[in-house]
């Protein structure tokens, strides 16, 4: 778990919270907040540390744009293949996040400290 660091934990937490929030009725503010947090954090936080940038500030900055980009590209792929549904897109995004987290656990450790 040490290899996952805060980004991994944030990704797992945001994914779990969103899945749990789906039980809430449409129109719930908590569910909307969980979706926004997931879209802003989960895909990026799962994958960005794989870049091995060794710069926490830059990793932090990349989380949101990478998350947005992946949400858009997955939606595009599903729409143009006429397979889109909200649940399917969630499943694909969760799979990507899980894959990213698994890759971080498997691959050799790289330090992400800011060099002095």
């Amino acid at each position: 778990m040490k290899r996952l660091r805060w980004t991994g934990l944030a990704a797992i937490l945001s994914g779990v919270v969103l899945v749990m929030a789906l039980a809430l009725p449409p129109g719930s503010g908590w569910r909307a907040a969980a979706a926004l947090v997931f879209v802003s954090i989960c895909p990026g936080a799962s994958l960005v540390p794989l870049l091995g940038l060794r710069d926490r500030a830059m990793e932090l900055v990349l989380v949101l744009p990478v998350s947005f980009a992946l949400v858009i590209l997955v939606a595009i792929a599903l729409f143009y293949s006429e397979l889109w549904s909200p649940e399917r897109q969630l499943a694909v995004l969760l799979a990507i996040c899980a894959g990213g987290l698994a890759a971080r656990l498997i691959r050799p450790s790289t330090s992400s400290q800011s060099p002095a």
């Binding site: 969103l18 789906l22 809430l24 009725p25 449409p26 129109g27 719930s28 569910r31 909307a32 907040a33 969980a34 979706a35 926004l36 997931f38 879209v39 794989l50 870049l51 091995g52 940038l53 710069d55 500030a57 830059m58 932090l60 900055v61 990349l62 949101l64 744009p65 990478v66 947005f68 980009a69 992946l70 949400v71 858009i72 590209l73 939606a75 595009i76 729409f79 143009y80 006429e82 889109w84 549904s85 909200p86 897109q89 969630l90 800011s114 060099p115 002095a116």
Partner: protein, 667 residues
């Protein structure tokens, strides 16, 4: 040299370690710096209290054609100026605290961009509602019909947004519209700081440029729209390229450099992946590596990390290509220029970007391009762009014309400040070549067929670098010298800098405010107007034709699609009287009333429901401000319609009326 010191965190450069050592010797209380230490803790809360106590009392309905400035309480001005002064005090401290400066900018974003969200009742401007309608349509249908609308040739953001809305159980994307401007500006801040950090490591310069970016951003391209989110990608791509994809091993221009993949002394070595990439791009020309700014450490990475960064750039670019027509061209132009001048070593990047752009344009947006080829051809070129972006905008009511001229002067001032800053920097032998190149990189967009907004978009793409060069005027190199900080002369100089930067930034903020909120009278929608549109959707069965004087009202957020032949795709047909009038400006009010009655009757007799006409305050404001239909012509038009007996008033409130076309019996 460390990486994070530029943003005020704890990792220090060699020179700053010396500087900090000096500050540790000098007691801040004795040197008089205690005042600057506690002053922000007085100014900041005062500013916040002033803003909170007055923002709710803004009477949006009382605005004139000068826009929001005409009803802005003095306390809001005072709050914003105090905030900027507080920032200037923190910024000019010997060792500025990054967190405190960031807090100032975050508060500035909320207090400057959040005024309409707090004072208004609903998202501003009709485009947000239209975007919500496209999002709703896409997620309801689940497929893309590019014939519906040009927007659907670049649907990426709408699809991503639609999924977020669906999975979050939100009623509509409009739920995000009201605070979107504040949210996207907050999103700009982190990549902007990183981008500036790739241009200089002078923390004072970085923070001054960051504040100026938000002060100078008057162009209103930051609402719930594809261009606002793709701008985050734009900033991030340039940050990645300038931080990690510079030529490997470039520390000084005198040093020898290697090509992509060549292991260069002092850099992270190239991996098998990168050598492979190098072989693939061997046929591409090699460019002499561009020099780094003197205070920026080498951060370029090779190996697997370099390849992964390049892939990340492509992923972000791909998302931008699918979401917006213009932003990918701005990215492409900037990256190409950086490669050609040796500031980016990945020579294949522009080639790959061009392939993605062309592929999308041919295979996805091809239908739109084919269908609008003649329009595109006639709206391309310098003369056409100049006419639609400059001369075409200098019209409208007297008050509005003053606002338009103020925008022109404000934009020119920003550019002149940047030019003066660039002149100073190059005279003082700084090597800000990358910043200068990126400042001019968006210029070719002026030739694209993008209508009357392309100049504003260019300004927006140039803004980080315009802000950077403008900020250099306030951060001469001498301000970094630690030796005189404790002297009286040093204290006086700090005070002068605070007044100069705070004063000029405040004046720019006021100019930016007038420019940004100059159309607010028509961009603002009252609760009565949104209620009337809601009622319109209740009254009008799907398939109805809906007519407005001008399409400047909060509609189209549902039933977006339209098909003449397929009833399942018949949401509503949205029409605008002003558009018809533009086609033949010589028509009288009577002619237009006849046209309205006939158009809506034609639809009714074609087996569809009759049409509806909606008239509202914002439409009148739009025509009065921009100088379209005259007040008397609109009044005459409405009077003739009512007298004709062919229209029946079915809904009215203070700010809107809805007329239904009476179904005529078949003879």
């Amino acid at each position: 040299m460390g990486r994070d010191e530029a943003l005020g965190s704890t990792v220090l450069t060699d020179s700053e370690q010396v500087s900090q050592a000096t500050t540790q010797v000098v007691d801040p209380r004795r040197s008089g710096k205690a005042v600057t230490a506690w002053l922000p803790f007085v100014l900041l809360p005062t500013s916040l209290i002033l803003w909170l106590s007055s923002v709710g009392s803004i009477d949006m309905a009382a605005m004139n054609d000068y826009g929001l400035v005409s009803v802005l309480p003095a306390r809001i001005w005072a709050a914003l100026i105090l905030l900027i002064l507080s920032f200037a005090v923190c910024w000019r401290r010997f060792n500025p605290a990054g967190a405190l400066l960031a807090l100032h900018i975050v508060l500035f974003i909320v207090m400057f961009y959040g005024i309409p969200a707090v004072a208004g009742d609903s998202p501003r401007g009709p485009i947000v509602y239209r975007h919500a309608g496209i999002t709703e349509y896409l997620t309801r249908i689940g497929i893309v019909d590019t014939k519906q609308d040009a927007y659907l040739n670049w649907p990426g953001l709408f699809m991503g947004l639609g999924w977020t809305v669906k999975i979050g159980g939100m009623p509509s994307a409009l739920a995000l519209g009201k605070w979107a401007t504040v949210a996207v500006n907050l999103m700009y801040l982190p990549p902007l700081l990183m981008l500036l950090r790739a241009l200089t490591r002078n923390s004072r310069l970085i923070w001054a440029a960051a504040l100026l970016f938000f002060v100078l951003n008057w162009v209103n391209q930051d609402y719930l729209a594809p261009q606002s989110i793709t701008y985050v990608f734009y900033l991030t791509i340039l940050t990645l390229v300038l931080t990690y994809l510079r030529p490997l091993g470039v520390v000084d221009s005198a040093q020898p450099r290697g090509r992509l993949g060549a292991p260069v002394k002092g850099s992270v070595g190239a991996s098998q992946d990168e050598r492979l990439a190098s072989r693939w791009s061997r046929w591409l020309p090699t460019f002499r590596p561009g020099p780094l700014p003197h205070d920026v450490p080498e951060t370029a990475v090779g190996g697997t990390t370099g390849v992964l960064v390049a892939i990340t750039v492509i992923v972000l670019f791909g998302a931008a290509v699918t979401s917006h027509q213009l932003t990918p061209y701005a990215v492409f132009s900037a990256v190409t220029l950086l490669v050609l001048t040796g500031h980016c070593r990945v020579r294949g990047l522009p080639v790959l970007m061009a392939v993605i752009l062309v592929t999308w344009t041919i295979f996805v947006a091809g239908g739109y391009i084919d269908g609008h080829l003649s329009k595109i051809a006639t709206s391309t070129g310098l003369k056409t762009s100049a006419a639609s972006n400059v001369t075409g905008r200098l019209t409208g009511s007297n008050q509005h014309q003053l606002v338009v001229w103020e925008r022109v002067v404000f934009t020119a001032t920003a550019w002149m400040l940047a030019l003066a800053g660039a002149f100073y920097r190059f005279r003082s032998r700084h090597r800000d070549y990358a910043a200068a190149l990126l400042a001019v990189a968006p210029m070719p967009l002026f030739l694209l067929p993008y209508g009357g907004e392309v100049l504003m978009r260019i300004y927006f793409f140039m803004l980080p670098f315009v802000a950077f060069f403008a900020a250099t005027l306030f951060v001469p190199d001498a301000t970094d010298a630690p030796t005189t900080e404790s002297s009286v002369a040093g204290a006086l100089r700090r005070t002068r800098d605070v007044i100069l930067f705070g004063g000029i930034a405040s004046i720019l903020m006021m100019g930016s405010f007038v420019a940004r909120y100059g159309n607010e009278r028509m961009d603002y929608f009252t609760p009565h107007e949104t209620a009337a549109v809601k009622e319109l959707y209740q009254l009008a069965p799907r398939g109805s034709w809906l007519l407005a004087e001008v399409g400047y009202l909060p509609w189209r957020y549902q039933d977006y699609e339209w098909s003449r032949t397929d009833p399942s795709l018949a949401g509503h047909r949205y029409l605008s009287l002003a558009q018809e009038w533009d086609l033949d400006p010589t028509r009288s009010a009577r002619d237009m009333a006849v046209w309205t009655a006939e158009t809506l009757r034609g639809n009714a007799t074609a087996g569809r429901p009759p049409g509806f006409l909606i008239l509202s305050r914002s439409q009148r404001a739009h025509e009065e401000i921009l100088g379209g239909l005259s007040q008397t012509a609109m009044d005459d038009y409405e009077r003739i319609l009512v007298r004709s007996g062919k229209f029946q008033l079915v809904y009215a409130n203070e700010d809107a009326k809805i007329y239904a076309r009476v179904q005529e019996s078949k003879r």
